[in-house]
Symmetry: C2
Subunit: 358 residues, 2 copies
């Protein structure tokens, strides 16, 4: 087992990466109070709920099973958690445990941020994407019908348990979505890691343990370092949104259905690379390299059929990374070096959309 | 004009107390961005909205007018704010301005805490109660159908403008409710201030400016000092809940209708004094003194007709100040010295309820 710390002063917390963590005494010992609210979704409950519960019998545990999927990441689903906690008369000393992927983690984290003005929150991410991305850094929240992730809070977990064993049951499509975020770390901050991913992509796709372990650890490390420098995204943390402004537009266009977050980010990274290319920052071979690694990871490298350049612009205008209406994008100066472009030229964006939309 | 600082490190903010503040350049200059979301309620809008708006013409302002009253302090009303902000495509650099009493402040503060994971928040409290209490300390939130203030966050404002002039239009009953919280500061931490209130109660009830100004300033000062020592209520801040556990039970019993928060707190302080009396902490004359000042302030000193001892116990069991099921109360060691009693004897509580309920 490896342990990384996300260094945030009094909010510092450990990320454990290893085998058998959901059955471990380490998991039990991370919980301070007596009351536990364990939240998962229908899919994960069928696979892992009993095992996790059997490790937590010494606590007063209540369970909430949410419907599965991004389209349930809303205030109504959030209220299922509040209602159960209040029905159980749980105090502010309850620990909320998120057992599931990014959607479960985001909802439960926000419930923990706001139930009685803040309770402890522990994460057991069950997808590769949530292990490498959404479990690090304390972004929590739900979607609003007028925009993705528009309602939320920064609320750091007390610990994250990245159990590699639970990825065994993860569908191939979700593995690809997770690998999209792993690729993102290479593209935004570490070209040597990008090369390593290219060399080990088949092992990652095949869930080979040592490759997975290294990919998760290195991804969490890159993210943890950035988050430690800028917890509340006033600056450098925005680099983590490489591919996300485009990706959010794709997800919003599709009504958060039919496309995984990581898939949208995959397409978004390709679009960011193409914009960076036309702006003369990336060479043609760098752009091709970006497209190629995403393709090898079975990620969609073009926007969904029927999505128009106008659809992109419309959805990007409400993206929360805009400052007062200017179009702000994360682009690449070179592979492994992302930067924040505050004045992305609309003409180039339009060229890229025209070329890629179909 | 007087200015107090609530000393919270990087979250330190000023409370300004004086005349004509809603028309002042100081108000304008406290706002950093261009976008403003001004939120008020129907009652206050009719009195002050135009005046405040005419002071803010240099900003891009949108307005939300909420329905008036505690029974609208819920997630549905909160969503009116999110929807307007998103419809206006306001970024996370928007400043949310709360123009109203405690309910408006709590809802808008929570909207600001959670819109795009946190925006600036400025308060213009228009009731005495919100000027002396809810505008200090960053507690924000909404009620849940299963419990009062159960969903919320700590989110400090960037500034508070306590304009004494706006109290001119405040109904007498709301003045009394505000005076309840002023009395609370005397009872919990400053017996000399309690004596001062007794000496100046008629001036306060009559809205005499210099008495009001002193009462507001001294109340904010006491609260600010406590909040500075314990921002997130892990200890001493709980003293501010003197009278509140009983008060919340009364409000919950009444379905948050027909009783103002300050009135419920008035009754709650009397009950806390009676419990402290039976426990041998307060003398009979101290208890009488507490009852008498509340009576002189036109506050109800007995629970609402028909509310039973059982009603109290039922509603107090979900109060969020309980730790793991033990009954925690704020009581008084002496007048001017509150303390936290973790093991309040149920028999004494029952005696007091039996004696007071009618």
């Amino acid at each position: 087992m490896k342990t990384l710390n996300v260094d945030l002063g009094e909010r510092t917390y450990p990320i454990h990466i290893g085998h058998g963590l959901i059955d471990s005494t380490l998991l039990r010992s991370a919980i301070k109070g007596r009351q536990l609210l364990l939240v998962t979704n229908e899919t994960v409950a069928a696979l892992y709920l009993d095992r996790v519960l059997s490790n937590l019998t010494m606590f007063e545990v209540a369970t909430v099973i949410l419907p599965d999927g991004e389209d349930h990441k809303n205030i109504e689903t959030l209220d299922m958690i509040f209602s159960e906690a209040l029905t159980q008369r749980f105090s502010r000393n309850v620990t909320m445990v998120a057992l599931g992927g990014g959607v479960v983690g985001d909802i439960v984290g926000f419930a923990a941020a706001t139930y009685q003005r803040g309770t402890d929150f522990l994460q057991i991410p069950t997808t590769l994407l949530s292990q490498v991305d959404s479990s690090v850094g304390g972004k929590t929240g739900v979607n609003h019908r007028l925009g993705k992730n528009m309602i939320g809070a920064f609320h750091q977990p007390i610990a994250v348990f990245n159990d590699i064993d639970v990825l065994e049951t993860l569908p191939a499509r979700e593995m690809s979505a997770g690998i999209a975020e792993v690729i993102k770390y290479g593209l935004l901050g570490d070209v040597a890691f990008l090369s390593w991913i290219e060399d080990h992509l088949d092992e990652l796709m095949g869930k080979e343990c040592s490759a997975l372990s290294k990919a998760i650890e290195h991804s969490c490390k890159i993210k943890a370092e950035i988050v430690a420098r800028d917890e509340r995204e006033s600056g450098v943390r925005a680099l983590l949104n490489l591919g996300h402004t485009f990706g959010h537009a794709i997800e919003a266009h599709l009504g958060y259905r039919g496309c995984l977050h990581g898939e949208a980010v995959g397409t978004g990274m390709v679009l960011a690379a193409r914009v960076s290319g036309i702006m003369g920052l990336l060479s043609e071979s760098d752009v091709t390299r970006t497209v190629s690694i995403c393709q090898r990871a079975n990620l969609p490298v073009r926007p969904p059929k029927g999505m128009t350049p106008n659809d992109f612009l419309e959805h990007m205008a409400v993206d929360k990374k805009n400052i007062d209406g200017r179009l702000r994008l994360v682009l690449m100066r070179s592979l492994g070096e992302a930067y924040i472009e505050d004045q992305a030229p609309m003409a180039i964006l339009d060229d890229v959309f025209q070329a890629c939309c179909h």
